[in-house]
Amino acid sequence: MEARVAQTQGRSLFRSDAVQKLMAFAGLIALFIVFSLSSPNFLTLNNIIGILLATAVNGVLALGATFVIIAAGIDLSVGTVMTFSAVMTGVFVVYWGLPIPLGIVGGILAGGLCGLVNGLVISRMKVPPFIATLGMLYATRGLSLVISGVKPIYFNDTPEFRDIAMGSVLGTLIPGLDIPNAVFILFGAAIVAGLILTRTVLGRYCFAIGSNEEATRLSGVNVDGWKAAVYALCGMFAGLGGVIMASRLNSAQPALGAGYELDAIAAVVIGGTSLRGGEGTVLGTIIGAFIISVLANGLRILSVPQEWQMVVTGAIVVLAVYADIIRRRQ
């Protein structure tokens, strides 16, 4: 039964998703064309790499949020969980002197743990996701400051740590094409997220819970357990975001992260994932994240005042969802 729910959902979604993705993609291309025509400094290899790099953190956060939103939940804590994971990575690598790979895994797991707590509070204690993750937002913001002693943790003694995001494996293979690793981490994470969403039980139940939680429960699925898993997964993506951020800044900045959750949610929504749950794609989220970065970068290059940049981003979020509603009506 639950398989059928998921399957029919999946099939009927395929077409509408394709249209939505096409629209989002067309929007991205349109932005590219407009900015390229407006300034000769926009369409250059360096600037494209800059845009890709600027998307890395928000993109990874948005990937995690995609799962939660498809499952008809919301996670307001991704930004501060990211910061918390960055601080924990700093603690593991700098204070405890653990090897860097272990520190990275530890950072990602720290994020996963926060997500798991979110998931358990939501599924077992029946606290609405908005409230549970709001609580986590405050808690992790405070914990990051407490654990770091309100001081940034610097990775100066472990220069290899910076290479995780800012080194370029591609650049050593093909000289001159110095695309930082962070970009490939983003794409790798997107592929993993795509596989989880479309090829695993967890992904199928995400859609099933999001489209009809009660029906899924009645068909014998352990909804509470899977929900907890979805939030834990989101936390792990936030953890990965924290590692990328710490590596790029060569430091864990404990006061960062406020507002990052909104950028992530905006990327997911622009990418066509419905806040009502039950539908969404990884590709859409990635396109959504790029739209936000391209917009920020392009308007910056045109020297449009920042205040207006926020207004434009807001308008685009609403327009993207409105376009989706119109498409449904037809």
């Binding site: 360096n46 600027a54 800012m166 800044l249 060569n250 006061a255 406020a258």
Partner: protein
């Protein structure tokens, strides 16, 4: 029954949390005896800052704690989470006045919004000492602050000298509403306009003091203005953003970077020459002098209205000098 149980559970949890936090929280600086000692033993001075997360405020806190020890007074140091939370700071000020302290030290986020409360303090005969930035009122008996306009103007002079008096320059400021943001921006921009007709300021942008956002912002500005010769970051977060942008785009040595304040990364960049130099205030001195002034005010001594805490220019040549080193926090 069940409700009662939940209620008592909640009450118990709250009490435990308060106990834990109460024990973990550091005692007010200068307290030598136990918490049981009557507070009336020493004059109590609440220090209300603009924030506590940034390293700058931690250094101010250290200075005020040193003064508390030297002058045998009790202080508490608190501030809102971000420099936009004018309302939270007003609540803190209200609470501080209600405690009937001997004096209050205040770094006002909004130079006008606090005036009604200052009038209340005056009516209650509580002397108010301003620090870091002034208030549009003559109620504060003294203000210990850096002359930010003069300091940023000096940064402009240095910029002109280092780029040879001509070319394009850009600026990243932390925000467009706070007194320090406005003063540093205007101090820099006006000095360039008045004295250096051959220098054009191509862009002034605001990064909220967020390292990551300032980095992407600075990259876009450099991208948009390929012939940029100089870049000024008006606080620590902005300066680190400019620095990251210049190193990520491999423009070291091609763009003259001037920063503000200190911090480990900025100090290292100055040492290595990637950053030409920076303005430093005297945060420890600001904290110390405001508490010192408060003690004098309690004793009824006459005070100078403006206590200029000074600023210094530091670069590779003098970073380890005796008069600079103590001003630079990590």
């Amino acid at each position: 029954m069940k409700q009662m149980r939940v209620l008592s559970l909640l009450a118990g949890a709250t009490a435990t949390a308060v106990l834990i936090v109460g024990c973990a929280a550091p005692r007010p600086a200068g307290t030598t005896g136990g918490a049981a000692q009557p507070a009336a033993a020493k004059p109590y001075i609440p220090v209300i800052s603009k924030g506590f997360q940034h390293q700058f405020w931690q250094a101010v806190k250290l200075g005020s704690e040193n003064a508390a020890k030297d002058f045998k007074v009790d202080i508490t140091f608190e501030g809102p989470e971000s420099e936009a939370q004018v309302d939270k700071q007003i609540e803190m000020l209200q609470t501080a006045i209600d405690k009937k302290p001997a004096a209050i030290c205040l770094a006002a986020l909004d130079s006008k919004a606090v005036i009604p409360l200052l009038e209340k303090a005056k009516a209650a005969n509580i002397p108010v000492i301003g620090f870091d930035s002034g208030v549009d009122s003559d109620i504060p008996v003294a203000t210990a602050a850096t002359d930010n306009i003069a300091a940023a103007g000096y940064a402009a002079d240095k910029m002109a000298e280092l780029i040879g008096g001509a070319g394009e320059v850009a600026v990243i400021v932390h925000d467009q509403t706070s007194r320090t943001g406005i003063d540093r921006r205007d101090g820099f921009v006006n000095r360039i306009k008045e004295k250096y007709p051959n220098i054009t300021i191509v862009d002034v942008q605001y990064g909220g003091g967020d390292h990551l956002k300032s980095t992407d912002l600075a990259k876009a500005i450099i991208q948009a203005h390929p012939s940029l010769k100089g870049f000024f970051g008006a606080n620590e977060g902005s300066a680190i953003g400019v620095l990251n942008a210049v190193t990520e785009m491999k423009m070291e040595g091609k763009i003259v970077v001037i920063g503000y304040d200190a911090g480990k990364q900025q100090k290292e960049a100055v040492r290595s020459g990637v950053m030409a130099g920076a303005i430093t205030q005297d945060p420890i001195g600001i904290g110390y002098k405001c508490v010192e002034a408060a003690v004098k005010a309690i004793k009824g001594e006459q005070l100078e209205k403006n206590i200029d805490t000074g600023f210094k220019w530091y670069d590779k040549t003098n970073i380890d000098a005796d008069d600079i080193k103590p001003l630079l926090y990590d």
